[in-house]
């Protein structure tokens, strides 16, 4: 018998896709259903909560008249079309559900493509009778399944809280299609670099850009750049207008992005080597620079690219958002009825300040996310066996941990300072008095640092005491705080619940009053949590 006769059926590029999809679903069997469940429940419960809180058409109209036209709230939540329960639900959670679905699909796609490839697992899989495109297809199918599951479940649950069936379907599909669009974007990101971390950063960066584009577009007044919302997959959800004469054709936009993205990803994947990105690795230094001499030098070297990316993203975002604050004044100038309503609330300055304060809250929450991810890098280093060679040298555990903690704290402070200065610059350049605006916005932004540090300290605490749970626990804490900050007031949560979030205790600047005591307490709390965490780290096993 010849060798050729012994080869099995030829197979195609897709051979083994079914197996790999089952493997991906098996690996995500807890996270994926949990994500789908939480997103479905959040949207459904919001609809139910709004129904309880605003039972009459009049009360809903009042909410729509104030909240739906407030530029700060439009920046955070998006457009509001009409005053029906469905429209309010779409405004309050439609875009955010899209963000959550997109986050889920981005993590799923990168995890089953570039992460596996970087770790060498795909090499093992690829050596079996598996087609060249099978792994990418399996990852896309898994992510798409999650998006479709959210859409299908929402189609069923929203009518249960008495929302019109057609509108419910439109909203559910808009949210699901948003997830599909970012599935395509993540597939492209996974092809670009050889590092999963960078690939994830690119996809999340695209999500951030989409948020800001539609944020500026949604909050822009008449004559402002409201067309920007059309440039963002996140904007398309509310542009579908699910409960106010749905524009079904808008659903075609995310589907087109999905198809273009996956097509491009397959094209790129076919042109590169296994394990490589689009850019070849260049040779580096043969010896280390003087700066790379201790754990701090190492932490800086590992994190500098990421921090630079964050700083750039912050600068661009907040200059744009600051500049958009000027447009808010113009919007109010056009409508006398609204003008009266807002004068009653405190006038134009108050509205602009509320918008700027909401921006600073967002800057604080995202800076907390940066700090947490930098601290959790310690855990990644530990489980990746890269902490071991460092700790086997004359480097103590606390010093090793502090190298990343200092970077997290300084980085978060830097990001907030950049947010403040950029917002002040953007607003000041259009509204005048740049120096004054930069000064007061920088102060307002840094007021968000203590609560962000409390969240970072929680990450240190779990890393020291309960390392196995540190990653989910730290992100859950952030998720809880984000939920309270964004949705607490509208859902009229009790003060007790609101007080859990450290951001509730930070001053609402600009426009609010500042008292030093809560900030001081937050700093002390952060210090205490971090100290307990470090004490735990000194006692526990490494690895």
């Amino acid at each position: 018998m010849t060798v050729a006769a012994r080869t099995g059926p030829a197979g195609t590029g897709l051979t083994g896709t079914g197996q790999l999809t089952r493997l991906a679903l098996r690996r995500d069997r807890i996270g994926l259903p949990a994500g789908v469940y939480v997103i479905t429940v959040l949207v459904t419960v919001t609809a139910y909560g709004l129904k309880k809180l605003y039972p009459t058409a009049d009360s809903r109209a009042a909410l729509a008249a104030t909240a739906g036209t407030n530029p700060a709230l439009r920046f955070l939540y998006g457009r509001l079309d009409g005053a029906s329960l469905g429209s309010l639900t779409t405004w309050r959670y439609g875009m955010w559900a899209g963000i959550f679905v997109s986050l889920m699909t981005i993590f799923v796609v990168i995890r089953h493509t570039r992460s596996d490839e970087e770790a060498g697992r795909l090499e093992l899989v690829g050596s079996a009778a598996v087609g060249r495109q099978a792994a990418l297809v399996a990852a896309l199918l898994t992510a798409a399944a999650a998006s479709v599951a959210v859409a299908v479940l929402l189609c069923v649950t929203l009518p249960l809280v008495r929302l019109p069936a057609a509108g419910s379907a439109a909203l559910a599909l808009a949210i699901g299609c948003c997830g599909l669009a970012f599935t395509g974007i993540a597939a492209v990101a996974a092809q670009l670099t050889s590092s999963a971390r960078t690939a994830r950063g690119i996809a999340l960066g695209a999500l951030g850009v989409a948020f800001v584009l539609r944020g500026v577009g949604d909050s822009a007044g008449a004559g402002g750049p409201s067309w920007l919302s059309w440039a963002s997959p996140l904007g398309w959800i509310q542009l579908t207008r699910p409960f106010a004469a749905p524009r079904w054709w808008v659903l075609g936009l995310p589907l087109a992005v999905c198809l273009l993205g996956t097509g491009l990803a397959f094209e790129l994947a076919a042109r590169r080597d296994h394990g490589a990105g689009l850019l070849p690795d260049r040779p580096g230094r043969a010896t280390a620079s003087d700066f790379l001499r201790g754990p701090f030098g190492l932490a800086w070297r590992l994190e500098r690219g990421l921090l630079l990316g964050w700083v750039t993203g912050y600068a661009v975002t907040f200059v744009a958002c600051g500049a958009a604050a000027k447009g808010i004044g113009q919007l109010l100038g056009t409508s006398s009825a609204l003008q009266r309503e807002f004068s009653r609330l405190g006038g134009q300055a108050v509205i602009v300040n509320a918008y700027l304060a909401a921006l600073m809250l967002l800057a604080g929450l995202v800076a907390a996310a940066y700090a947490i991810s930098t601290i959790l890098r310690l855990r990644t280093e530990e489980t990746g066996d890269r902490a071991e060679p460092v700790l086997a040298t004359a480097t103590g555990r606390v010093r090793w941990a502090l190298s990343h903690i200092v970077l997290a704290v300084v980085g978060a402070a830097l990001l907030l300072a950049v947010a403040g200065v950029a917002t002040g610059l953007g607003y000041g350049l259009r509204a005048g008095s740049v120096g004054y605006q930069v000064g007061r916005m920088a102060g307002a932004a840094l007021g968000q640092l203590p609560p962000a540090l409390v969240l970072a300290a929680i990450a240190i605490l779990v890393f020291g005491l309960w390392p196995e749970a540190s990653v989910p626990a730290a992100w859950t804490a952030l998720g809880l705080v984000v939920a309270i900050a964004l949705f607490g007031q509208v859902l009229q949560l009790s003060h007790w619940v609101m007080d859990i979030s450290p951001f509730t205790h930070a001053p609402r600047l600009p426009g609010g009053t500042v008292s030093a005591a809560p900030l001081l307490w937050l700093c002390l709390l952060a210090l205490a949590l971090a100290a307990v965490g470090l004490a735990g780290l000194r006692r526990r096993d490494i690895g």
Binding site: E118, S195, R293
Partner: protein
């Protein structure tokens, strides 16, 4: 001579798994000590306790006269470590990592660094992401060997090296021995331990089952005899003869040292055409310790 490493009745459990169950180990200053055992025997756990990364549950461990947990940082200035599974920072080059680890340890010899890079034929300008497993191993080895540490802890250091590089590694360890450095070499590659080590400790299921020089261990064991004879011979029933196999005039068996004289006398009485008599390889010692069938067969014989 003082002991560089002194371990008595060391215990460590991970949940219900007992990794170390009363381990004894002593490594004398200036010797190359091989620490042999199959995967999962507890070698890496022992080294991690010595590095102060894991906390012992019971027993005593002394490293260079200090407590490995309490005095970790001070002790680490005096030792260098090569992990069994070397993972590096993907974005740093090999050269950068060697320098970084040297500096973290408190200094390295630049000339020796260069000589080792040439000896191991490593390209220090490549990013760690692009290194093969053997090249990652080389980075960690060069960083450790270029340091002026008095103790080297090497956890399966040649896994992933090709035979040429393995030879280079052996030369390096012999140089270290001449410089008076202490080496603890954990391994399951027996030829390596046989070629390099002064003394050996064999570990199984978290306990040391045997320790000593190879000469001392062979003393306890048998020689292998393989002979081509002029005529048939019968060694049946002779005390001290094991695993006897006779095919015509070809004879193979294992013989206790005490019985060797008697066996040779009987063979020469028949007439010997060729004779091989050799001590067991470490491989065979190893098999005897780790294969339960052989252990019980030995007990019967």
């Amino acid at each position: 001579m003082s002991d560089a490493i002194e371990i008595r009745a060391l215990r460590k459990s991970f949940g219900r798994t007992r990794a170390l169950d009363g381990l004894d180990l002593s490594v004398r200053a200036g010797e190359v000590h091989a620490f042999l055992g199959p995967n999962g025997a507890g070698k890496t756990t022992t080294i991690r306790i010595l590095l102060g990364l894991l906390r012992k549950d019971g027993g005593e461990a002394t490293l260079l006269g200090g407590d490995p947990w309490r005095d970790a940082v001070g002790l680490h200035r005096r030792l260098a470590y090569v992990p069994g599974d070397v993972t590096l920072w993907p974005g740093l080059t090999g050269g950068e990592i060697i320098d970084l680890l040297g500096r973290l340890r408190g200094g390295m010899d630049a000339k020796r660094r260069q000589a080792l890079i040439e000896r191991f034929a490593l390209d220090p300008t490549k990013k760690a992401r692009a290194y093969s497993r053997g090249n990652r191993q080389k980075v960690a080895l060069i960083a450790a060997l270029a340091s002026d540490a008095e103790l080297l802890l090497l956890d399966e250091p040649t896994a992933g090296l090709d035979p040429l590089m393995e030879a280079a590694f052996r030369d390096c360890v012999n140089d270290e021995r001449h410089d008076g450095r202490t080496v603890l070499l954990s391994s399951h590659i027996l030829a390596e331990a046989e070629a390099l080590s002064d003394r050996v400790t064999i570990i199984r299921d978290g306990q040391a089952v045997e320790t000593g020089t190879l000469a001392e261990m062979r003393h306890l064991t048998r020689d292998f005899v393989d002979a081509e004879l002029a005529g048939p011979v019968s060694l049946d029933g002779l005390p001290g003869v094991h695993d006897l196999a006779v095919q015509g005039t070809h004879l193979r068996c294992e013989v206790d040292h005490a019985a060797l004289n008697e066996v040779l006398a009987r063979l020469t009485a028949v007439g010997v055409r060729s004779l091989t008599c050799r001590p067991p390889t470490l491989e065979e010692l190893f098999l005897r310790h780790y294969s339960s069938e052989r252990t019980s067969a030995g007990a019967r014989g």
